[in-house]
């Protein structure tokens, strides 16, 4: 095999050479310069405004004074398109003379208009908003969620219709689930493809980090664009089934003067709500009522509120400095950030150092646009021991933190559950304070993402340009865990002294050509390209050590005797897109992508993903052209197919290989222990999962653009689901395997509305709202669906072993709850162990369970308002989920357990009302409607403006996050990924003061 990198390098050289050779060609072309100034309604210069020569890629941005200069504009008549996020765009005709500078009259931009001319980032390029044919939403930094935001996705939480973002809990840098339009997969990943400045990033969570995106500094982000329907995503064929999120970072602009921005956010986070468990005296009376004599005997005399012992007010500081400007033709931006964030749980903190560099020179009179982006981050995590969160809700509140008796000295003097013979009761819940005090769990995760993009207008053919993008995304995760030998939770094994290590490398090479010209009645844009991306996931294995450094379990070397395991995934794509725009009224888009993946067997590697869309801009028609009541109206219709190949950890599902057992799964024959070789389940026929999306949308703007937004209706059918399903006995080598079987459908409506309530020079009030309705149904699950089939049980709960509370069944939503119907007495009290015999066969067994609701909300709502008065700014964001149900596992575990030996388990207050004395895990009594309304954040800011000298800026802000939650849900937080609440790390209520200075 040829070295692919050599080839890539050679290609790069080729492009560079071709470029130099053609230098001479354009020197002769006649071109001139255009210059002008852009202001806001108050006649103040607007920096950062994009000015483009229509139909070309020539353009520039305004500097801090609002002045722009564009050189290299071909002589002749042109139209300048002036656009800026949050302002209405303007088009200005100019005539350019060779070798001369044309001054354009100052343009005043109106604020808060529909921004139809705004450049929207799309797959492989940008488009004017008015030219979009797909369902695309772009959120710019101005609209981001303010306050202490650690992970980039939190910037747009609640801001985008059809996008549900849920974090796993309140720990700094915790993981997030992003679901776009309900998720199109079942067993395969439902995560969207995330592309940062043109580099599709690895969504594998590296050892030592909880969230791969937490390594990106949100302060560096300029805009986040979400591509939702197939017409916009299909160009990313392979990984686009669950939507695409394009992240664009900030960069310098041509002609800009040096600008330094420094900001600091200081915040304090507090526990918003504690789990509702019994206090010591309540617990004492409970044990004395229901307990065995043995249990009563071990009650203590202390009164300990364990939750208040393990949490603290958590302080954070987020400091950022950036310098941007342009050195001649070389715009640059450099930034550094330092975040020190404490978690509510004691000893849990995160320190993040980030740096980014962006160079975006425009060379050869605008023919070559270069973009070099390099971002680096270094995170030091201290995870503390998050096991303490659960332990604090169930540890006996009548016991002290530290105990005097000599029998506790072996465990560092902490109170622990002991057997009557004085030995440690290893089944008991461990002392929550000891859990975090006697554990050091740290990691360091480093990540760098970078790419170099060359966009070159080929001199030979007008309208033809070539784009090359080479990039990388590398991550290094290293961590250590140390638990001393006297810590009760690792006492029997003698403590822990381990380290772990993982490397993720991701290389990218993309090249495409673009051709634009007028053909017939319209303007054609054709793009075709090639994409190569390689993901390497290398994990290292180590001996498992005790605290004293002796080996508890020796390392299991891989089959080839290595201490590393390398998994590789290569994706190769060929893509093309055709846009045809007739008179800005009829817009056609067609895309096609052929994608190959190394995850499937040769012969099955390629999938083909077409899409087509049509948009009719009614506003462009004569009858609406001059209407101010209807300021915009566009109908969009799209269809397309996208694929999914990401089976998570399964890299070679097609390969008939044998795997080697580790040291503790050996088998003895005679006097020899053998590491065994197992023939693994495989499926040589496994191939793509395909999602077909239909989308109809309407973009509207009324009353001179004061009310604008969109409505989208979609249907997404996924077939050949990459499904981890039961294999017929003896058909394969295990009872489960990866097969292309099953299908599901998501149907939904998305509504977006923005309203400028007041729009004056001094006072501006805007309100925005979005609503999403989504219905998810499994339409096929097995090769032969039969009525006797229950479906795939899923959704493991805590309590018992292997218990599940959800099911995937045909005709129901993914992960429907699967429960018994509780029977009640005449007073409405649940009857312990009595369920409704739903199938009427006289016995209660698993056939009486029924499917009841789902964790997925039927409606997801988001909205907010923003008011500015002179220098003041007041804003808030609200989010609501409606119709989402949660299985309250905490309540379900709240029965009095008389079977525990020599230790006691505290309970949720539920136990007092139900009075259950045995587990009723599968009762629908514990199902709760977890609909909620949350005020995500509220911000008050004041901008002092040019306080010191001209061109400077000083702003002060105050923000509160997680202001309130309105919900009938009885647990600590109604927002639970997957819908099974086993107590989460509480989401904090955070108060932030921010100061930013610009000069």
């Amino acid at each position: 095999m040829k070295q692919p990198y050599l080839v890539k390098l050679r290609f790069l050289l080729f492009v560079l050479l071709g470029l130099t050779a053609s230098l001479g060609a354009w020197a002769q072309a006649g071109s001139g310069t255009v210059s002008g100034r852009i202001t806001d309604t108050k006649n103040e210069g607007l920096p950062g405004v994009t000015v483009l020569v229509e139909g070309t890629t020539i353009g520039g941005s305004t500097n801090t004074e609002g002045v722009y200069t564009i050189s290299g504009v071909p002589a002749g008549g042109h139209t300048l398109v002036i656009s800026f996020v949050g302002y209405s765009s303007t088009r200005v005709p100019v005539t350019v003379f060779a070798g001369k500078t044309t001054d354009v009259a100052a343009q005043r931009l109106g604020e808060n208009a529909t921004a139809l001319g705004e450049a929207v980032v799309i797959g492989y390029g940008t488009q004017r908003r008015q030219d979009l044919t797909g369902a695309v939403e772009q959120i710019s930094s101005k609209q981001f969620v303010k306050g202490q935001v650690t992970n980039p996705e939190q910037l747009v939480q609640g801001k985008v219709a059809g996008v549900q973002i849920t974090d796993a809990g309140g720990a700094p840098g915790s993981s997030t689930q992003i679901l776009i339009r309900g998720g199109s997969s079942l067993s395969a990943s439902n995560a969207p493809l995330i592309i940062i400045d043109g580099v599709p990033v690895d969504n594998t969570t590296i050892s030592g980090a909880s969230n791969p995106l937490s390594q990106i500094n949100p302060n560096d982000i300029e805009s986040i664009t979400v591509l939702k329907d197939a017409s916009s995503t299909a160009i990313y064929g392979v990984r686009a089934s669950n939507g695409v999120i394009l992240v664009t970072t900030k960069r310098g602009v041509v002609g800009e003067q040096v600008r330094v921005t420094a900001s600091t956010l200081q915040s304090v986070a507090t526990v918003a709500k504690y789990a509702d468990v019994l206090n010591a005296s309540e617990f004492r009376s409970l044990v004395n009522t229901y307990g065995t004599s043995g249990q009563k005997a071990i009650l203590g005399t202390a009164n300990t509120d364990w939750q208040r012992q393990i949490y603290r007010p958590a302080y954070s500081a987020d400091n950022n400095v950036s310098v941007s400007g342009a050195a001649g033709n070389l715009p640059y931006r450099v930034s550094v950030g330092y975040l020190a964030q404490q978690g509510l749980l004691k000893r849990n903190d995160l320190n993040r150092y980030t740096g980014s560099l962006s160079l975006t020179p425009v060379l050869f009179k605008g023919s070559l646009r270069v973009a070099l982006n390099v971002k680096g981050s270094w995170i030091d995590n201290n995870f503390s021991n998050q096991g303490a969160v659960g332990a604090a809700t169930s540890f006996d509140p009548t016991q002290p933190i530290r105990a005097e008796g000599s029998q506790y000295a072996a465990y560092g003097g902490y109170y622990e559950s002991l057997n009557p013979d004085g030995t440690l009761n290893t089944l008991g819940i461990r002392n929550p304070v000891a859990l975090y005090e006697l554990r050091r769990d740290r990691s360091t995760v480093k990540r760098s993402i970078g790419n170099l993009t060359l966009d070159y207008k080929l001199p030979f053919v007008p309208g033809l340009s070539a784009n090359l993008n080479v990039g990388y995304d590398v991550q290094r995760g290293r961590g250590t865990t140390y638990v001393p030998a006297n810590a009760a939770d690792s006492y029997v094994r003698g403590g822990v002294n381990n380290n772990y290590s993982q490397d993720l490398n991701n290389y990218l090479l993309e090249a495409y050509g673009k051709y634009e010209r007028t053909i017939g009645p319209g303007r054609l844009e054709f793009l075709a390209g090639y994409s190569y991306q390689k993901f390497e996931n290398r994990s290292y294995v180590f001996d498992d050590f005790r605290a004293d450094g002796t080996i508890y379990n020796p390392v299991a070397l891989s089959y080839n005797g290595q201490n590393t395991y390398l998994n590789t995934n290569v994706l190769i794509g060929f893509y093309s897109r055709l846009n045809y725009n007739i008179a800005d009224k009829y817009l056609f888009t067609g895309t096609f992508r052929a994608d190959g993946t190394s995850r499937f067997a040769p012969g099955q590697q390629y999938g083909y993903f077409p899409s087509g869309a049509f948009a009719w801009r009614l506003k462009g028609e004569e009858f609406l052209k001059n209407s101010s009541a209807i300021s915009d109206l566009k109908l969009r219709i799209g269809y397309g197919q996208t694929g999914q190949q990401d089976l998570g950890g399964s890299y070679y599902p097609f390969l008939a290989n044998l795997s080697l057992s580790n040291q503790s799964a050996q088998y003895q024959l005679g006097n020899t222990f053998y590491r065994t070789l197992r023939a693994d389940q495989y499926n040589p026929n496994i191939t793509w999962e395909t999602t077909t999306t239909y989308n109809v949308g309407l973009d509207y703007g009324f009353f001179d653009g004061r009310l604008y937004g969109s409505v989208d209706v979609y249907k997404r059918d996924t077939k050949d689901l990459l499904n981890y399903v039961q294999v017929a006995a003896l058909q394969g080598l295990s009872n489960y395997g990866n097969f292309n079987v099953g299908s599901l459908t998501n149907k939904g409506v998305e509504l977006v509305a923005n309203l400028d309530v007041v729009k004056t020079d001094e006072l501006n009030i805007t309100v925005n709202a979005n609503a999403t309705y989504n219905q998810n149904r499994i339409t096929k699950l097995n090769a032969t669906d039969s009525p006797s089939d229950v479906g795939q049980l899923t959704g493991g709960i805590s309590g018992g072993t292997g218990n599940t509370i959800q099911v995937n069944s045909v005709g129901y939503p993914t992960q429907s709850f699967y429960v018994y119907q509780q029977a009640y007495d005449t007073n409405g009290k649940p009857l312990e162990g009595v369920y409704v015999d739903r199938n009427g066969d006289g016995t209660i067994n698993s056939a009486d369970r029924y499917r009841y609701k789902t964790a997925r909300p039927t409606w997801t709502l988001g909205g907010g308002a923003n008011a500015t008065y002179k220098g003041f700014n007041l804003a808030f964001t609200l989010r609501a989920n409606l119709g989402n149900y949660v299985y309250n596992n905490v309540r379900a575990s709240s029965f009095y357990d008389a079977s525990t030996n020599n230790f006691l388990v505290n309970r949720n207050r539920e136990v007092l009302s139900s009075g259950f004395t045995s587990a009723q895990y599968f009762s629908d009594y514990f199902m709760e409607n977890a609909s909620f309304l949350r005020m995500q954040n509220a911000t008050l800011g004041y901008n002092f403006g040019e306080l010191l000298k001209k061109g400077t800026n000083l702003g002060l802000s105050f923000a509160v996050q997680n202001v309130f939650v309105i919900s009938n849900y009885k647990g600590i937080d109604p927002e639970v990924i997957g819908g099974i609440d086993q107590t989460i790390y509480p989401r904090p209520r955070t108060f932030t003061v921010g100061l930013n200075v610009g000069f």
Binding site: S558, L566, L660, L669, T676, Q726, N803, S899
Partner: protein, 545 residues
């Protein structure tokens, strides 16, 4: 003119560049991992073939390639639950008068009360695990056919060794098919000649019985020098000729149940072969433990225990770990006031208790108060009767399996999680009682006198007085006393016609005093999941489900 030329040239160069790049990079799609093994390489190397053979045995003991858990063999059930010994033992023991397992895990209570249905995950776990083992054996046999060995350059003495492995794989497969016959009746059927990926056909109980019989007879007819099974007691823990004979004896003893045709004479024939081999009852107590108890201790792979155990499933506290098998049998038996440390472990799981009917058999007048089998009963803080399934205090404890050696030393896992104790799948005392039963049921080739003496040898070793005479009913009770919690009870009760009716025990049928259940419960249902996955099984569900 010149521009046009340059233009064309440029376009061509770009196109050529892109094409070259693409074709080079498209080959990169063929990725293989270096950390796992390719079948072609593995089956060309006898040493690695032995590692695959070891894996077939390991299926009884572990649950995946990563001990104690990880890289599970089968899914859809908690990995620890899915272990072979665990799922098999559970269906054979907690569905009978011998034991309850009082946990709140899914539909586990229904197994205790004989009220399972075709969706029960523990029934499914047993079915999936047994078929998993058959599938692994099929693949091993498929890869080691004579033709494959020859084509991979394995010849001569090496080939004979590999053929011995293959014979063992066939024996293990026959054992699992016997488990299917015993638990499920008929079921899907495939051998090494079936192509992987095709849906297997259904085969009924009698036909699988015939197949198992023919396989075992074929294996029995060849010796190790010709690539057959090893001689008895040859290599520890390998399935040898004595395992084959014992299995044949079990097959024939239960043939009336399986096929409707009694084969007691054949049963006598094969028990005789085992009795003639050099196995001996463990009869010498240690300072701490009785001769009987020594069979179930951490060093039962040595000394007298080794002489009695015909087919051990080998466990090791550091090298063979899992949450099924012996880990489960030792931990789950400990609860209440019973000290885990005395059993050589760090904790009890508070699971198993004896039902009062087993306690009655162990404490019956025919048993000495010092009978080694009876004295294992632990009563302190426990009640005799099992009234509430989940109450650890209901029913006496029976810490039969212990992770201490016969000299009282704790097993090798310092943390006290994983025992060294091996599981006695087949042992001599069982064969002695089988012999007596087959003779009493009319099998030719033995005598009533020998039958009585075999039973009395077993009783005497435990410390009870000899019986003067022995009747069939005595055999069933003696089997309960001698073999309780070793995974035989359900089969025994069915053979004696006392499983679904004629005998009731606590919580049978879901009522405290026990009640008769439908006769169809003598077989477990084919899990719905497999009927859904394999259309060939439709219409073949066992009656009553």
């Amino acid at each position: 003119m010149q521009t046009k030329f340059t233009r064309t040239l440029g376009m061509l160069a770009l196109a050529a560049g892109l094409t070259a790049l693409s074709s080079a990079c498209t080959k990169d799609l063929d990725q293989v991992p270096s950390y796992s093994a390719n079948a072609e390489v593995v089956y060309s190397d006898p040493a690695q073939i032995q590692q695959v053979l070891a894996r077939l045995y390991a299926t009884y003991a572990v649950s995946g390639q990563q001990g104690p858990s990880g890289q599970p063999d089968i899914s859809g059930i908690d990995e620890g639950f899915s272990n072979y010994i665990r799922v098999y033992w559970q269906l054979q023991e907690i569905t009978t008068d011998e034991a309850v397992l009082g946990w709140n895990d899914g539909n586990l209570p229904a197994i205790n009360t004989l009220t399972w249905n075709a969706d029960n995950e523990f029934v499914r776990g047993a079915y999936d695990r047994i078929y998993y083992q058959i599938g692994l054996c099929n693949e091993f046999i498929r890869q080691t056919t004579d033709a494959n060995l020859a084509s991979r350059g394995i010849t001569g003495a090496t080939a004979t060794t590999v053929k011995q492995y293959r014979s063992e794989a066939r024996l293990l497969r026959a054992m699992s098919y016997w488990h299917i016959v015993d638990l499920f009746g008929g079921g899907p059927f495939a051998t090494e000649t079936d192509v992987l990926g095709t849906l297997p056909q259904y085969k009924n109980r009698a036909d699988i019985f015939t197949y198992v019989e023919s396989e075992l007879k074929a294996l029995e007819a060849t010796d190790a020098t010709n690539g057959g099974l090893l001689a008895p007691k040859g290599v520890y823990a390998r399935a040898d000729q004595a395992v084959c004979w014992t299995l044949l004896a079990k097959l024939y003893l239960n043939a009336q149940v399986y096929t409707g045709t009694p084969r007691y004479t054949d049963a006598v024939t094969y028990t005789n072969k085992v009795l003639a081999a050099s196995y001996q009852l463990s009869t010498t107590p240690s300072a701490q433990y009785s001769a009987y108890q020594k069979l179930f201790l951490a060093d039962n792979n040595t000394g007298e225990a080794r002489n009695e155990i015909i087919f051990p499933i080998a466990f090791d506290g550091t090298r063979t770990r899992g949450y099924g098998g012996m880990t489960y049998l030792v931990h789950a038996a400990v609860g209440g006031t019973l000290s885990p440390a005395a059993i050589g472990i760090n904790s009890g799981w508070g699971g198993f208790r004896a039902r009062q009917q087993l306690t009655a058999l162990l404490t019956s007048p025919s048993v000495s108060a010092t009978d080694a089998r009876r004295t294992i009963l632990y009563t302190s803080g426990q009640r005799l009767n099992v009234d509430t399934l989940t109450a650890v205090s209901n029913g006496y404890l029976l810490p039969k399996y212990k992770n201490v050696t016969s000299t009282g030393v704790k097993g090798s896992d310092t943390a006290g999680d994983f025992p060294d104790t091996d599981f006695p799948m087949f042992r001599l005392a069982d064969v002695k009682l089988m012999y007596a039963e087959a003779v009493l049921r009319g099998g030719a080739g033995g005598t009533a006198g020998t039958a009585l003496s075999q039973v009395n040898e077993v009783r005497r070793r435990a410390g009870s007085a000899d019986l003067a005479t022995v009747a069939l009913a005595d055999i069933l009770d003696e089997r309960a006393r001698e073999l309780y919690w070793e995974g035989h009870r359900r089969t025994d009760l069915i053979r004696f016609g006392r499983y679904t009716s004629n005998y009731n025990w606590a919580l049978k049928g879901g009522v405290n005093g026990g009640r008769d259940v439908d006769a169809t419960r003598a077989l477990f249902p084919i899990p719905n999941t497999d009927i859904v996955a394999n259309p060939n099984l439709q219409g073949h569900q066992n009656p009553g489900y």
